[in-house]
Amino acid sequence: MTLDTFLTSRTDARPSIDILQPADPFLEAAGESLRRRIFITESTGAGPLCLRPEFTIPLCLARKGEKAGRFAYRGTVFRQGRGEFQQAGLEDLGHAASAERDAQAVRDMAGALAACGLTDITITLGDQAIFERVVAALSLPDGIAARLSRAFGDDASVATQIKALTKPRATGSTEADRLAQAGDAAALEAHIAALMEQAGLPPTAGRRAADIAARAIARAQEAQFTLTAQQGETLRAFLALDTPLSEAGDALAQFADQGGLALGDTLNQFRERASALDGLTVRYRASFGRKLEYYTGVVFEAEAGGQTVAGGGRYDRLCTLLGYDEPTPAVGFSLDLERAEKAGGTP
């Protein structure tokens, strides 16, 4: 079976996606840092345009307001530093998230690579949801938990944060700092509102005095928080987990028992997904994640010949970022056909 027949057999349609795309959705969803990695150009009409750097975002935009389904794509993408190369992939849009849907995406990635003749592959899997659950079980202050979750996938940044949390952080000594430390929300808000008025800041555009006061108070409390040695050890032990997926459920359960953490339903779903992937050789690496805001759960990638040839994951937040009215769960993967070919495949 060729890659094209495989993708067609697994999907409902292949939406047509233009090469020239509005740049804003990419910058809005992935952030301004994407700008240096794509080919962007000004248009005389509305907003900047870019050469298609990937298919997921335009595909989600093309399916906005349409029925749920599974969609395939194949074509050229353009990136700074690499120039143009071919990608193919599959997106499962609008079906309720489930262990089975996740597993299907991983199996289809392996199937697509097999259709290219690549069967000697190493699949690595991580899970943002498990990490967030571990952090939640440690009952850290919200701001600290959110910051750790955002850093997930960047090992150095997570390690730095854990280290910084082992001692209290310095706090300032201004009037605002004093009010924040005292937790006096009303006085702090009035103080901030006065500063905003003096500065001529529009009171309703952007951050409001109440938002700033609330974060300042939370921040003053968080500055006092320190991670116990045991909590730090628990986080480090979790991030060090690296095991065959078939054994990962038990390893996580044992880890949770030792740390006295309740991983509840998140662990059950993890186990369910792992058994749905029985027969496929997958490694679970607890620290593996993608530092993109819209990834919410499982992430995975495949290596062949020492190169990452495919990757994917669950991105339940992307469609909302792209302006969908309804929450729209989504999971998918993409193949780097240039690297697949270098690894000996025939895409």
Partner: protein, 229 residues
């Protein structure tokens, strides 16, 4: 064998450059009428070109001049891989300006880039749009923010009066140059504690891609030695 040195063609940067070169024993002869070319007085081997500041950075990157006097901020902003294309040889002590990240002073909860990252991460959920940063320093902003892990924000291009953007409602924070910080303070903004992106000044800079040989290297050694004092 001549060495080409590009210097600013107008304004304060031109005056300061002429004074600095003269003080170093390398007086630049006034160009003849309507010409942009001159030389170090009595030195046929040291050609001087008067160019606009942005042209100097560009010609250094291309290697069409050997040396240039340019602000480090401008060179790093306008050239993709500045360290690969040029050597910043001698800071000249004038044209000093810091490129900084500043936020409204009313943001009492934001002191560091980590704070700004927190605010940026929840900005859209609270306001329906991304945090906007006004600047003309796209490249410096992107790489500095990325090095601090800040990804979700939007740059709003600003070609003047950047420090007024938050009050005008066209941006939430700014990246701009300041020499004393007084304009920043006058606009009720504050510089983040770890928000100094670059301490810039006029710098004698060599183009790595220019045509180099032993004679020219010796000439550069002589010019840098004199200016370094």
């Amino acid at each position: 064998m001549t060495l080409t040195i590009a210097v600013p063609s107008k304004g304060r940067m031109k005056e300061d450059t002429l004074a600095r070169f003269a003080a170093a024993g390398l007086p630049i002869a006034p160009p003849s009428d309507r010409s942009y070319q001159s030389q170090i007085e009595g030195r046929n081997d040291l050609t001087v070109l008067f160019l606009s500041a942005s042209e100097i950075a560009r010609e250094l990157a291309r290697g069409t001049v050997h040396l240039g006097v340019t602000g480090e901020d401008l060179a790093r902003e306008s050239v993709a891989n500045a360290d690969g294309a040029m050597d910043f040889l001698v800071p000249l002590g004038f044209g000093k300006a810091d490129v900084v990240v500043a936020v409204p002073a009313a943001w009492v909860d934001v002191e560091t880039m980590a704070d700004l990252d927190d605010v940026a991460a929840t900005f859209r959920a609270r306001t329906g749009r991304r945090l906007r940063v006004a600047t003309k320093y796209w490249r410096l902003t992107q790489s500095f923010f990325a090095s601090h892990g800040v990804a979700v924000y939007r740059i709003v291009e600003s070609l003047g009066a950047t420090e007024g953007a938050p009050a005008a409602g066209s941006a939430d924070a700014i990246v701009d140059i300041t020499s004393t910080g007084s304009t920043i303070r006058a606009n009720a903004l504050k510089i983040l504690k770890d928000g100094v992106i670059l301490q810039s000044q006029a710098t004698l800079t060599a183009a790595k891609g220019a045509a180099w040989d032993e004679t020219r290297r010796a000439q550069v050694d002589e010019v840098t030695a004199r200016l370094r004092v």
